[in-house]
Symmetry: C2
Subunit: 310 residues, 2 copies
């Protein structure tokens, strides 16, 4: 089966260039970043539980997150919509909210494309930004500390609750419906010399850490005991028959940050940050892209994939 | 009904900025251009008569055309694919051809996004280019000559033949399946001081000329007697019960160029060009965006629209 990784690998083999395919955003020239993300009805969202304002918010935020992933400041955006007949009222509200979200995030909507869709609603956003020195995912070094910013597994838990119409605290559902890109945290981290590599967490911690390790030619070890969320998270997982650790490791769409920091400067970085930095594990010598655990865990860890995961 | 023009007008009201929504490509800063175009299965193409190589060619060319529209040189491209289960073999060939087309056109594929699609195949391409002095559609002046480059109506004729499985010369079907952006012509035209405004012809001559006039705050008159195509075109229209003049005026997807040139320098421009320039009409004083004809024509001219035209 042709999945996202295979497509990207195929394209990589044919287009090996600095700043080319591989990072969350591509580097056009010097400090200019660009990225695009698709949101497809019944793959990424369902109209029955996603109001237009939330979808507009998310469509922008997942793209902002690609720029945040590289320590960039988003500046311009283009919006593509393939619009089915029955979604016209919905899209009217979507447009108003999208415009509003752009204003709130200081990005300028400069163009786009609209067309009919035979059935489903498709949203395609292209985002442009700038980064003085873009932080790549390919520059982690053995001995670095692996860190995360943002909640892990919240969005996946929320998605499962929405899909099964299970009553759990709103916070988790909102994490899926209206995620926020970690722009401010990313800008601060990218200004710190001790941060060695960075990306956003869109496909789940485990998958994204493997990608970071693969790109950097290293391995990593996750300290399982550092991954615990709060009791409400655990109770909500129980209500849905989900294993909390599995949700934390593999749940996608949280749009936090995954980054590595030099071992001897980690304490200082954490002390100076005005947001919570989670210590996840460390970069180790090993097979490129491999992620080990600090202790044995008995889980069947299916990787998050956009291909038919709903 | 919310159509493309209404969506764009809505966005324009909220985002009035130089180089903002309105032209084929948006100006990011100074000389940097960006544009995006969606291609949707069963709206823009059908898998039953569109081979993967043709679709890849077209997906790139329609985007190249947006840069050509402004006299720009395309440089980078991003590719988004929403992929249904049954299209995986098709997309494998599509990718190979897309990569090849990028090489041939000296554009670098630097990123993109792939995901599942519940049903139809969606292609979303973002293109970046540069133009020393971008040519806008909003700068035509009263008295200018209206010109076109490329065939008019060929693609629409081809589409109608493909849809009805009618046997007409391959040239017309190819015009729809594998259009070519007028990059070289556009680069030459944009270097000529006498060219006052330009855009590409993607929605049909009449619709696009109305857009150019509206943006420039002028009107135009089309000289009907200059619009004749060749006898094979006319015979093929007959075979499909189509009025040749109507096809020339309203048929979309030709991806030629529409431009205006100062009256007193038109002869010189035409003499110096190493490609055919068609004299279509002239820019006149009148209601903003209105297009008149040199003589009465008895046609019901439906405007080309991407919303459910197939």
């Amino acid at each position: 089966m042709l999945n996202e990784t295979k497509i990207i690998n195929y394209l990589k083999q044919n287009f090996i260039s600095p700043g080319g395919i591989g990072d969350d955003a591509a580097i056009i020239t010097g400090s200019n970043l660009i990225s695009k993300d698709l949101l497809v009805e019944d793959i990424h969202f369902r109209l029955k539980y996603t109001d237009a304002a939330s979808l507009a918010h998310k469509a922008l935020q997942v793209n902002l997150s690609d720029i945040a992933a590289m320590g960039g400041l988003p500046s311009h955006v283009l919006l593509g919509i393939a619009l089915p007949q029955n979604a016209q009222e919905y899209i009217d509200e979507f447009l108003q909210s999208f415009v509003q979200s752009c204003h709130q995030n200081n990005v300028e909507l400069i163009g786009g494309d609209t067309c009919a869709s035979p059935d489903k609603l498709y949203i395609s956003v292209t985002i442009i930004g700038t980064a003085h020195t873009p932080i790549l995912r390919s520059t982690a070094k053995i001995g670095d500390i692996v860190c995360a910013v943002g909640n892990l597994g919240y969005a996946h838990l929320g998605l499962q609750a929405l899909e099964s119409n299970t009553d759990i605290p709103k916070e988790f559902k909102q994490a899926f419906l209206k995620p926020n890109a970690a722009i401010k945290e990313s800008l601060w981290l990218s200004s710190q010399a001790s941060v060695t590599a960075m990306m956003d967490i869109s496909d789940g911690l485990l998958t994204d850490l493997k990608k970071l390790c693969f790109a950097s030619g290293v391995a990593a070890e996750i300290n399982i005991d550092n991954l615990k969320n709060n009791i409400i998270f655990e109770e909500s997982c129980s209500a849905l028959n989900l294993n909390p650790l599995e949700v934390i490791l593999t749940g996608g769409e949280d749009y936090g940050l995954l980054f590595t920091v030099k071992n001897d400067t980690y304490q200082e970085l954490q002390a100076n940050a005005n947001f919570l930095i989670k210590r996840i594990g460390k970069i180790i010598k090993g097979n490129k892209g491999e992620v080990a655990f600090s202790r044995n865990i008995d889980l069947s860890l299916k990787e998050f994939s956009h291909f038919g995961e709903l």
